[in-house]
């Protein structure tokens, strides 16, 4: 019961936060120079005043700023993200088209980085000071420091141009019309390079954090007690050290999970992955206000959602933490 109330109060706060974010974003986006009518007219290669006026009127840009803002917020309250005049479709539809591809990519990357990061961190902590530990931490530092787009381009160069093992870009083989299992395998093949590229950075973050945290916890008194009880090394590490060392990793994972929607712009661009990050970037360049704001809101909702989930996970990992904390 207590937890239900806690979640409810969190959701109410979340809704208010979202609304505030929507308003703030509205100001931000409109503060940038240029507007969608000018961009559209610019692309047409010719324009006259009549055309620009006509476009502004259709986009509702001829109305006073506070009216535009009011209309937008009123729409948001009714779960209406508005219409993209540039693309001639409702924003919710544009986002829904792109969301699955992005989630597939970011969640795979998230899964890989979390699983491998923790496993390698534990392994490195167990061999602290040895050659294998040094090798792992060096690699992690390297991946941590390398810019993502460079890594992505090198991966394409090596694995698809030189070796020809994996497709260098795209979501699936265009025009092959695969179905069922073949299609699934085809998508997986396309997924490997972008997911690894995106995952490597966070993998090294998790690994370094797990390792440091493991080492810190292993100095504590209760670990000595466990050892004195005669428990084996692996059992202590798994049941006592890792369980206590994982909390900071959970915090960080919660932060990364919040970026599942909007955090892959670069990877999506280099690998021509038809995701939402690209939609946002292209809409920004075209000043397609409704679409940018829509993506922002979905991203913000994602961050808030994962913050709540992270808090719940804390409770499971460490029962001493209350839901209201």
């Amino acid at each position: 019961m207590q937890i239900a109330i806690a979640i409810f109060s969190r959701l109410v706060k979340a809704a208010l936060t979202l609304l505030a974010i929507a308003v703030l974003n509205f100001f931000l986006v409109h503060a940038a120079p240029g507007d969608p009518a000018v961009v559209l007219a610019g692309e047409a290669g010719a324009a006259d005043e009549a055309m620009i006026e006509q476009l502004r009127e259709r986009f509702g840009l001829d109305q006073p700023f506070h009216v535009q803002l009011g209309k937008y917020v009123w729409g948001i309250v009714q779960f209406d993200l508005g219409y993209s005049f540039r693309q001639g479709a409702p924003v919710s539809q544009l986002i829904a088209e792109r969301l699955p591809a992005t989630l597939l990519l970011t969640m795979t990357a998230f899964g890989i980085s979390l699983a491998c990061g923790i496993a390698l961190g534990v392994a490195a902590a167990a061999r602290v000071g040895k050659a294998s530990d040094t090798m792992l931490t060096t690699l992690a530092l390297l991946f941590y420091a390398t810019p993502l787009y460079w890594l992505a381009l090198m991966a394409v160069l090596v694995f698809s141009v030189w070796l020809g093992w994996l497709p260098g870009f795209g979501y699936e083989t265009v025009g092959a019309n695969y179905t069922g299992l073949t299609r699934l395998l085809d998508i997986l093949k396309h997924l490997i390079l972008p997911a690894l590229t995106l995952g490597l950075f966070f993998m090294s973050v998790y690994m370094r954090m797990t390792r440091a945290s493991m080492l810190e916890v292993s100095q504590l008194d209760f670990v000595k007690t466990a050892r004195a009880k005669g428990l084996s090394g692996p059992a202590i590490r798994r049941r006592h050290i890792l369980r206590n060392a994982i909390l900071p990793v959970v915090t960080l994972a919660g932060l990364q999970a919040g970026q599942l929607v909007g955090g892959a712009v670069l990877t999506e661009t280099v690998f021509a992955w038809p995701g939402i990050g690209r939609l946002m970037f292209e809409s920004l360049a075209a000043r397609d206000y409704n679409t940018i704001l829509g993506v922002f809101i979905v991203s913000a909702a994602m961050v808030i959602l994962f913050n709540i989930i992270t808090d719940l996970v804390y409770r499971i990992v460490d029962p001493r933490i209350g839901a209201t904390a």
Partner: protein, 515 residues
């Protein structure tokens, strides 16, 4: 009007007899960059839309690389001797992709109703039109108020795409649901658009030209990163890189690959002409001596060789050498820093900094701006680069908030369509980045521009434009830079892809793949 004697123009039934037997079948993968915002060509006229939708929609005419009109939806046409009446005979047996018959009523609806409302560029030509009528189902007559020589260039597919009356009449064009699945008369039909990935077109089996098109299907591939586009071509994933889809320094590497061809043709209708707007209203750029000094300071040959990898031609004035009525009888500005310094000393330039606005279209343009900064610094001009994104660039140029701003514009085959708009005073209007943005005001020349547009014979126009070019080049209203060339890179087994003045835009109609 009663003594109307018609002059018959070129009536070629189909393309000239080919040297090789064309083979049917196959698929073509073409890069499209950036992803078009929409495919309804009557509503959206940006470059990518024109490229994809040029296969779906058609207009009355097509144009050779020498800008000679060819039949398209019109099989023949006549222009009256006084240059006022254009009569088009339409092809027989043409149907829309949904099976409805195409008639002269569609043409009248498109030109007179739909495009008049949606197409700013065509609207300026339609201002010369008195009436558009369809005496019968296969005849369309355009009657002009006064002779307008360039009117024959207005029947290109991006300029006057013919749209289906039965779908659009009486609806709100911008929100018509059919915009998502465009219906045209062209050689390829729209099949599917996977947003962010590709657009799929399939062969129009009922196309009215016997034996065309040869290809079964076309995939327009959306690949947002320039390096990835180059890789896609290298790995054989795509067959065609249309002009401008890879960075210039990648071009030599790709064209040196085995079995790869390239051509600079297919841009004659557009003749992209690059220059810097020089703000004629205020600051040092309002002084003619300063503007001439800029021209002498710039090493345009160097930019062409280094920044553009040798592609393009140094511009001599406002009209591109590919556009009709070009004249090279003008003052030639070579790279002469000493002369530039003299001119600056003569005007008494006090070192007031000028803001240069680069064009935010990628690395090449950034480097070009840096080359210009260096050239200008060499003669003692203080330059600040004022970088922004596309929307910001549009805003700043159309609100005249700059000293020098890079741009390039299309010329559409005729000075009256794509050149005079940048120099006549009636086109000084805030809010558009395509008109007389520099604020050049020369009433004497305005009269000449206007007169040249409405002269009846090409010979008269030739003389008039030669005079204009000679005069305006001395004034340097803008700093002309290069006639740009965007090579199309393709695999050599793709044949007959670039045969017209708009290249890849309507090229797939006759293209075929050698097995």
């Amino acid at each position: 009007m009663t003594y109307l004697k018609a002059t018959t123009f070129l009536i070629a039934a189909a393309l000239a007899a080919p040297a090789l037997a064309q083979q049917d079948g196959g698929r073509l993968d073409i890069v499209v960059q950036p992803e078009p915002p929409g495919l309804m060509l009557g509503l959206v006229q940006n470059g990518p839309t024109q490229m994809v939708s040029g296969d779906i929609y058609e207009s009355l005419l097509r144009y050779t690389t020498d800008l000679e009109p060819q039949p398209s939806l019109a099989k023949s046409w006549t222009i009256s001797d006084d240059g006022l009446v254009y009569t088009f005979k339409l092809q027989d047996g043409v149907t829309w992709h949904d099976g409805e018959p195409f008639t002269a009523a569609d043409v009248v609806f498109s030109a007179d109703v739909f495009l008049r409302e949606t197409h700013a560029r065509l609207r300026s030509s339609l201002a010369y039109v008195q009436s558009i009528e369809a005496p019968d189902d296969t005849t369309v007559v355009f009657t002009l108020k006064e002779p307008f020589g360039p009117f024959i260039n207005a029947f290109e597919v991006g300029t006057m795409p013919i749209v289906p009356k039965h779908i659009y009449e009486g609806t709100d064009y911008a929100t018509n649901e059919m915009n998502a699945t465009p219906i045209g008369t062209g050689p390829f039909k729209f099949d599917k658009w996977e947003k962010g990935s590709y657009i799929h077109l399939v062969k129009n089996e009922d196309y009215y030209v016997e034996g065309l098109p040869h290809l079964d299907e076309i995939f327009y591939r959306v690949i947002p990163d320039a390096a990835a586009r180059a890789v896609a071509f290298e790995t054989g994933e795509v067959d065609v890189l249309p002009g401008g889809s890879v960075e210039n320094w990648d071009v030599p590497r790709l064209t040196e690959m085995e079995g790869v061809c390239s051509t600079g043709k297919g841009w004659e209708f557009f003749a992209p002409h690059a220059w810097m707007w020089l703000n004629n209203r205020e600051g040092p750029t309002s002084n003619k001596l300063f503007r001439q000094a800029v021209m002498y300071a710039l090493d345009r040959e160097f930019v062409k060789e280094v920044v553009w990898n040798g592609f393009g031609t140094v511009a001599t004035g406002p009209i591109s050498s590919k556009t009709n009525f070009y004249s090279d009888d003008v003052t030639i500005y070579d790279h002469n820093p000493d002369k530039a310094k003299e001119l600056l000393a003569e005007m008494g330039y006090d070192g007031e900094p000028v803001r240069v606005l680069p064009l935010p279209y990628g690395e090449t343009w950034q480097r070009w701006a840096e080359a210009v900064r260096q050239n200008l610094s060499e003669v003692g001009i203080n330059v600040e680069l004022d970088s922004t994104d596309v929307a910001g660039w549009n805003e700043k140029t159309s609100q005249w908030d700059y000293d020098m701003a890079f741009t390039y514009l299309y010329q559409y085959g005729d000075p009256a369509l794509g050149v005079s708009r940048n120099y006549v005073a009636s086109q000084i209007k805030k809010g558009s980045p395509w008109n007389n943005v520099e604020g050049y005001d020369n009433p004497a020349l305005d009269e000449k521009w206007n007169a040249a547009a409405t002269m009846v014979t090409p010979a008269e126009r030739e003389t008039a434009y030669a005079e204009i070019q000679k005069e305006i080049v001395d004034d340097v209203p803008v700093a002309w830079l290069l006639e740009l060339e965007f090579p199309t890179i393709y695999r050599c087994n793709v044949k007959d892809l670039v045969t017209t003045a708009i290249g890849v835009n309507d090229g797939p109609r006759g293209a075929w793949i050698e097995q």
